[in-house]
Subunit: 448 residues, 2 copies
């Protein structure tokens, strides 16, 4: 820390202010690297806030799609892309363009390896691709969720190797994304932004950068704190969902509907927060991020037992759903192996078309391996998406009375509001409800 202060004393403040002014008057060129679920919306947000914006991705398909005016993310329309181009947005796979940007915002995936350890390969490969083009005065901001120490241990030395003095000549910022997929209430601009910097100048410039697109920036005193903050948000969510999944199984044994209990507990105006159980975790954050902390804690010789426990319970949920399905079919003298099964909802979350880590997909895989004849219906994913671990050439089944009645069992995984739940209830032989969509005793509904 002493070295930062020393650096700050030598820092030419007017230069920092000059750079900051380019963000407040929208003349800065904002480079966003990684145009996925986080990067593309962020790039569009800068663009609608008055910046031109230059997007980078190694995936030529994404670049071509955007250049031809199409969106590949279901909640972003083609016309949004076209309007952004009209306002000067450009995207490229040519990383030499990096040199023209004032800020480089890295929106890269941080998945787990098959051993459930952090996979920083996307970040490391990207920073090495950028390095040759980095310029004095640029800001490099990482938005990916990762363990405390990543920026200082992995990014800092690679930036230092450019010969530029980090914190003085080039500025390292960490600001975890808080993108909220398909949330009707919160606009991205209204969600406060955590920002931390390697030096005081880094924090000043990071704040200037994000204030251009966010109502409120929350500065933190170190990058490691900001890294842990984002993890804690997702850890709390994972643990609370895990708790509700355990409580669901306990309540089920007592023949009590956990959804009724959660709703009643939520009437307490303090001290209780509503989380629902489900068929397992999905998405790119909650099932994965907590294990980033587990990894780092283990290196320091300390356990993260809540994370391990919630991981274990949440991962067991698809099997639990299958057990309940098996049990319910058996009551009708049927087996999974020769059942015709319709999975309702493929996306990991309602009202969006994002299939990442969706438990529906694991469920389809498990049921298919047991010999079931599995179809699915999801108006947000009309064809079964390409996944790293699963390959199915399925298309979404359109729901009707006769279609529904042709299945032995309908497994409700994602309760998109656009589903006709009355139709489903009226015409399905058997419904396995993992979302508490049906309440009270209904003869053809089994909770799972």
């Amino acid at each position: 820390m002493a070295t930062h202060s020393a650096r700050n004393n030598y820092m030419k403040l007017p230069a920092t202010q000059q750079i900051a002014r380019r963000f407040s008057n929208q003349t800065a060129l904002i480079g966003v690297i990684g145009l996925g679920y986080v990067g593309l919306p962020l790039l569009l947000r800068f663009n609608t806030s008055g910046f031109k914006g230059l997007g980078f991705d190694i995936d030529e398909q994404k670049i071509n799609a955007l250049n031809s005016g199409s969106s590949y993310i279901s909640h972003i329309s083609h016309s949004q892309i076209k309007s952004a181009y009209d306002r000067g947005l450009r995207v490229t796979a040519d990383f030499s363009q990096i040199k023209h940007c004032d800020a480089l915002i890295l929106c890269l995936p941080t998945p787990l390896t098959s051993d459930r350890e952090p996979d920083l390969s996307h970040i490391i490969a990207t920073i090495e691709m950028l390095a040759p083009y980095l310029q004095r005065g640029q800001i490099v901001s990482l938005e990916s969720t990762t363990y405390p120490g990543t920026c200082e241990e992995e990014l800092l030395p690679r930036l230092e190797r450019t010969g530029l003095v980090v914190g003085e000549e080039i500025f390292l910022v960490y600001s975890p994304e808080r993108e909220v997929l398909g949330d009707p209430v919160f606009e991205a601009r209204d969600v406060p932004r955590i920002v931390a910097g390697y030096s005081r100048a880094c924090l000043t410039l990071g704040t200037a950068l994000y204030e251009a697109v966010t109502e409120r920036v929350v500065p933190m005193s170190s990058i490691r704190e900001a890294e842990l903050t984002k993890l804690l948000e997702n850890i709390q969510r994972s643990v609370n969902i895990g708790l509700m999944n355990e409580m669901k199984m306990v309540a089920d044994r007592m023949d009590i509907d956990i959804f009724e209990i959660i709703d009643a507990a939520s009437t307490k105006p303090f001290g209780f927060t509503r989380y629902y159980p489900g068929p397992g975790l999905g998405g790119h954050c909650i099932p994965i991020d907590p294990f980033y902390l587990t990894y780092k804690a283990r290196l320091l010789g300390i356990d993260t037992r809540f994370i391990e426990l919630s991981g274990e319970i949440n991962r067991a949920m698809p099997s639990y759903v299958i057990q309940k399905t098996e049990w319910a079919l058996r009551q009708q003298s049927k087996n999974i192996s020769d059942a015709k099964i319709l999975v309702l909802g493929l996306a990991y979350k309602k009202n969006v078309g994002d299939p990442r880590e969706s438990p529906a997909i694991e469920l389809i895989d498990l049921l298919t391996k047991q010999g079931a004849d599995v179809s699915y219906s999801d108006p947000f994913l009309l064809t079964f998406p390409k996944m790293r671990n699963y390959q199915y050439s399925l298309v979404s089944t359109e729901l009707s009375a006769s279609i529904l009645s042709s299945f032995d069992v309908v497994v409700l995984i994602t309760d998109h509001d656009c589903f006709d739940f009355d139709l489903i209830q009226a015409h399905s032989k058997l419904i396995i409800d993992t979302r508490g969509r049906y309440r009270g005793a209904i003869t053809n509904v089994v909770r799972a």
Copy 2:
């Protein structure tokens, strides 16, 4: 359930309505049994809402105190007691008076045995004491937190033994207390009330009873659901505090202040709820209630792993505080065994005088056993309270610059707002802060 419906058909509805009217026009005599932290405030609430109110307790000391116009609960004033008497409140240890009451509300402790199993002895002893005096038309409502099945397995058969038909002639209600100690925001009247009844008539009458003192009654379809609801509220709290305690230890190993992280995460307007770590759980609910579910689940052959884990971690917190104290003293070449230690705060919660299950008391015990010379300061508990497991003849130390500087270490356990934290920080040699009251790097403050 079929039997309930049959019963309801025979129920003389006008009679139920006649009883209900006595609650809406405040002519009913409300009997509250057990005049502790829950029962006494409830009795006063009925009294200020226009009912006379008759309190029962087997503890003659409580009866005598109230009859002489004194309160024994720090947040209830003597004048509140006197005014209630002016409005007709009476209390007695004579249980034959039971027969005059329209409603009997049981506010009894449900602690754990030394084996950490539910101790229903207070409930069972009380219902057996009541039984001889029960009358046709009376409502018996239990407010104690307990496992699903308690009312139907323990209360119901004992009520049936009176010869009165439960659900028709005598009415069994369950409505878990949601008393909030020292909360400046929520008035008891504004906190919605969960109510469940053994029959539909029971629910109707329970609703009428509590609507007399509560803005909103939340009816539930069965007593077992209402029993589980209250447990879930406290389980969620216990698990979330346990999680934050674990995260505190992880963050500490990374030299990060968890309080800064929690506050930053709380700026997320959705999906994150602020819970703080601490020196261990206290009070009569959170450390105890979750194990009521553990017990019942075990009987059904199912584990409650989140409850076990949070219990384990939360119970280890006083030892963690001692380890940190030991470490900090060692930096100054001192040992706990010959240290002069001041514990700040004895109550389990800030700004109240309730010592039940307070970790401060376990801490004082552990430190004393290690040979330390321990004092405490708590303006809400001027003398060390009588406890079941601990006996200390200590009185609260008044804080001053010279007093503070005479101690080797000050351990902040309960951060009552009335403490002068600047004075404490200015004059203590060493502060162990378990509440995140001091932020940033302060030379004489160690986080624990």
